[in-house]
């Protein structure tokens, strides 16, 4: 390689490098804050923790108002993920393999729910879930989040299923497999990667959503995101605690993201790039 070409490549690498530094700075600050004492935070500006402390994390793991928030969040997120993907699997198969009355419009209608602003649904959801007696349970949030997660799961899974050649289905039917045996024994293992990606995105979008989760719960099922915003608005200056709670919410994402790194872009394009 020519020397000029090499310096060109090095210069070019600067752009992603600077961009990544920009992305990491607020995260660095959040993590730093979580290891500081309240006195240090309010006392003045320190670029890194001078009195390093784990007290904020200890408080979160021992105080039930905090750790129950994580448990509540995980409960509805997992329930929602399972529900969304299980329901979406046969539907995605239907969309990828068959034509039927109104299929395109049905698909579009599902998509509009993915795009609808949760703010529009907040108030009627509050009344709907109160009327059916699910208010302040994890089930209310799990069901409400299917509004955008089911369409997303259908979309992603349909994208993956369309990549599976139709011959697979036809051979199985010729061999005398009934539909459900074929679907569960052959087809689902074939698109395991797609199911993983769909689960990941359902998990993530349910995990990051605040408005509906906060509206549909009050005490018993309060999710961690609501605990955080209420802490932030009422007691004001427990910033270290808030930072520690925030840091902990990043961990699952950072952990899972590594496994799906090759599918991230595809998933965010809703499986259609």
């Amino acid at each position: 390689m020519h020397p000029e070409r090499r310096t060109f490549i090095r210069k070019r690498a600067l752009i992603p490098a600077i961009y990544i530094i920009f992305l990491m700075l607020p995260i660095y600050w959040l993590v730093t804050m979580s290891f500081k004492t309240t006195n240090e935070i309010l006392g003045g500006f320190t670029p890194w923790p001078v009195n390093f402390t784990l007290a904020n994390y200890v408080k979160i793991f021992t105080d039930s108002t905090w750790y129950s928030g994580y448990i509540n969040s995980l409960t509805f997120v997992i329930a929602n993920t399972i529900l969304s993907v299980v329901v979406a699997l046969p539907a995605a198969y239907a969309f990828s393999r068959y034509r039927f009355l109104g299929d395109k419009h049905l698909f579009f209608w599902l998509l509009t729910n993915r795009m609808a602003p949760p703010a529009v649904f907040a108030l009627p959801f509050l009344q709907l879930y109160s009327a059916v007696g699910l208010f302040d349970t994890p089930w209310a949030v799990a069901l409400a989040h299917t509004l955008f997660n089911v369409p997303l799961a259908v979309w992603i899974l349909e994208g993956f299923m369309s990549g599976v050649p139709k011959e697979l289905d036809e051979t199985a039917y010729v061999d005398g497999y009934p539909f459900w045996r074929f679907f569960l024994k052959i087809f689902i293992p074939t698109i395991a990667a797609g199911i993983g990606v769909a689960c990941f995105f359902c998990f993530m979008f349910s995990w990051v959503e605040l408005l509906l989760a906060k509206t549909l719960t009050s005490v018993a099922a309060k999710p961690i995101v609501a605990t955080m915003t209420r802490t932030a608005s009422t007691s004001g200056y427990e910033l270290g605690l808030l930072a520690a709670a925030g840091t902990l919410t990043i961990v699952p994402g950072a952990f899972v993201i590594y496994f799906v790194r090759n599918y991230i872009a595809k998933g965010f394009a809703l499986g259609r790039v």
């Binding site: 009355l101 109104g102 395109k104 419009h105 009344q127 009327a131």
Partner: protein, 97 residues
């Protein structure tokens, strides 16, 4: 809102019920039409879009909603004029788009 039946909290009125009944009837009519003449009569319309009957219905309804809103924002009630415009618009959409 506690203890009331599902119908009560939804606060139904006759006009809104009629509106949704109209939408439901449209969908049923489109399905019946599709059964008797399958394929949805696809064509490449004047906007450069490939549309079927269902698409044309959707474009008509969505466009009409915006016509009503625009009229209400610019001139206010009564709403007979936008109703007329919407019907003409729907006809145009079904004929040429």
């Amino acid at each position: 809102m506690e203890g009331t039946s599902i119908i009560a909290w939804m606060a139904w009125t006759w006009p809104t019920a009629a509106f949704f009944a109209f939408i439901a009837l449209c969908l049923i009519a489109m399905s019946v039409w599709e059964v008797y003449s399958p394929g949805g009569a696809p064509r490449h319309g004047i906007l450069g879009l490939d549309t079927t009957r269902g698409d044309r219905l959707f474009i008509s309804l969505l466009g009409s909603a915006f016509i009503f809103l625009a009229w209400l924002g610019l001139f206010g009630t009564p709403l007979w004029a936008p109703l007329g415009i919407s019907l003409v618009y729907a006809f145009v959409v079904f004929r040429w788009v």
